[in-house]
Amino acid sequence: MRTLKFLLQKEFRQIFRDPAMLRIIFLMPMMQLLFLPLAADYEMKNIKLSIVDLDNSSYSRQLVSKITASSYFQLTGFSSSYKTAMTDIEEDRSDLILTIPSRFEKDLVRDNENTLFMSVNAINGVKANLGGAYLGTIIQDFNREVRLKWIQFPRMNPEPVVDVTYSNWFNPLMNYKHFMVPGILVVLVTMVGSFLATLNIVKEKEIGTIEQINVTPIKRHYFILGKLIPFWILGMMILSIGLLIARIVYGISPLGHFYVIYIFAAVYLLAILGLGLLISNYTSNQQQAMLISFFLMMVFILLSGLYTSIDSMPYWARMLTRLNPVTYFVDVMRLVVLKGSGLKDISSHLLTMLGFGLVLNGWAVLSYHKRN
């Protein structure tokens, strides 16, 4: 036990002797937590719309003013032909073209039906879908108004109608920040913890100080523990500051208990740090360690369900996310913060993470050899 104490003392001294690094470790994640969640908003506002009005009748003008009155669309301008409107899309000045054919009003009245044309920039499929759907709804509303002018509807529905009501639980205001802040915090804690742990042992290898430790009677598991504990404490500190920022800046306080988050985070950090140490053991210089860790982190973070939904991924990718520790923590954070889930609800996640932790750290201890 005394050995461990000295080892810890050494590690902490190393950390505190590089104040520039220490500042970066704390400031960088906090800065990002302060402004990045504001960027995360999928809700479509300000869809840029070009209109080609070949009819120029009272109907077409009514439709246009109805569209511009909604908050979803921003009218970029009227074009005289589809071709000029198309250059707007090519140069990213516009996302959507609505073409109103000539004789739109006359033919609608004469033939009882008419067609509008909508061209959507679909490079981002979801945006295109939603933009098209919004415009479709406005057009349908307009259609109803037109009909009301011509015919009188009976009081009872003339046809069977299924009335759909929506209730949005847990986040009735559909506030995206409540969803993103906990997730981004997880990413920041993960990146800081794992990069630092990964670089640590390999740095000692690179500058040769590991030889000095290898010739002492220090046991392997003490050595690993000595490396693990300081970063574990750092990670927990960053998590706490992050939760504080979430509270003060974004007004997000978990519906569930803090202790659930902390218990899970404690186990999670063990697993993530164990992985870092493992990489450190298998690489010979900091560059290699960084690259491998960077590769894993990028895959872990982008496939964690933080940004895109896991359910939509192909089968093999969904299986891959089961091996991804970040997925579990993102999920737990959101469950506890937004839904108030307790220890019992997340118990299977917790056990899985415990398994990760034991395997990775056990492996890290076994793969650390005192001989070259």
Binding site: N46, W169, Y307, S312
Partner: protein, 368 residues
Amino acid sequence: MKQFFSFVKKEFYHITRDKRTLFILLVMPVAQILIFGFALTNEVKNSAIAILDQSKDEASTELIREIDASDYFTIEKQLSSYKEIEPEFRKGKIKMVLVFPQRFSEDLRHFNAAQIQLISDASDPNVANTINSYASSIIIDYQNRINTDLKLPYTIKTEYRMLYNPQLKGAYSFVPGVMSMILLLICTMMTAITIVKEKEIGTMEVMLVSPVKPLKIVVAKAVPYLLLSVINICSILLLSVFALDVPVNGSITLLLLESILFTLTSLALGLLISTGTDSQQTAMFISLTGMFLPTVMLSGFMFPIENMPWALQMISNIVPAKWYYIIVKSVMIKGVGFFAIWKETLILAGMMLFLLALSIKKFKIRLA
């Protein structure tokens, strides 16, 4: 010039001697573009839902069957009372519960009006919104089908044309995004690290006391990484065309030239980071932890920039990946020529020159 080439040669030795690093540098982008290209999509599919059917009659059964048959939903569970809904959400798997009231069929037939309640887990507002609209469009389809004999007068139809990406594939927007992210991070990180590494192990001092101009030393360091990036760009493009079915509609030469410009910008950024740091750890921390999330979130490929608050939109202008992302999207997928992207190109070129000038100015010939 001879001096310069011998320095470039030295850098190549550095890289080729560390086989493991070289391997990672060449394989990593390939693996990432494959994994992300196939797995990342902001579509919402296969959402797990639960049904609370209190009527269990003809109409409700048919609607449930139709919802189950769509790609968007997978029915995971049948609930029997309202009380079960909340615990189910709390476990996190179920995204929505469809509630059919009692006597659904009868209401529909006799009163021409029946109700369905959609309760969704809105902790992810995007998913909630999307599956709400999917479910209601299935319900509207059902309703229209039982009303086929009725035709309303004065109908305005809308015809949609999805430009560039008619199948609405996620890869069309994610491949350009992942491309800009990988190029930026790898180039920045590697240049920053190789220079700082020489500082750390002391060989920088040896070079600085030699008669070679410091500028040459630094530029020589960037050359091998530029070459490596060109190889990576080619492999990424080949993969996206042949494995991911994302076309290159515009000119390949233009795309390659723009990519080289972007790589140079990233190298200049790495250079700047290296002048301000003196340990590999710090350099890496700044170039990865500092740039990863801002690049992902502010370059516009995850979240639309026009939705962001004004201040963030301004900040996004200094993210080089944003401009490159626009360029790649335009050339690769829209197939437009240089005239449509000259502004973005100019901005990137300006950024590169600015970063380069700044780092040359900050480059210290003397070690502290």
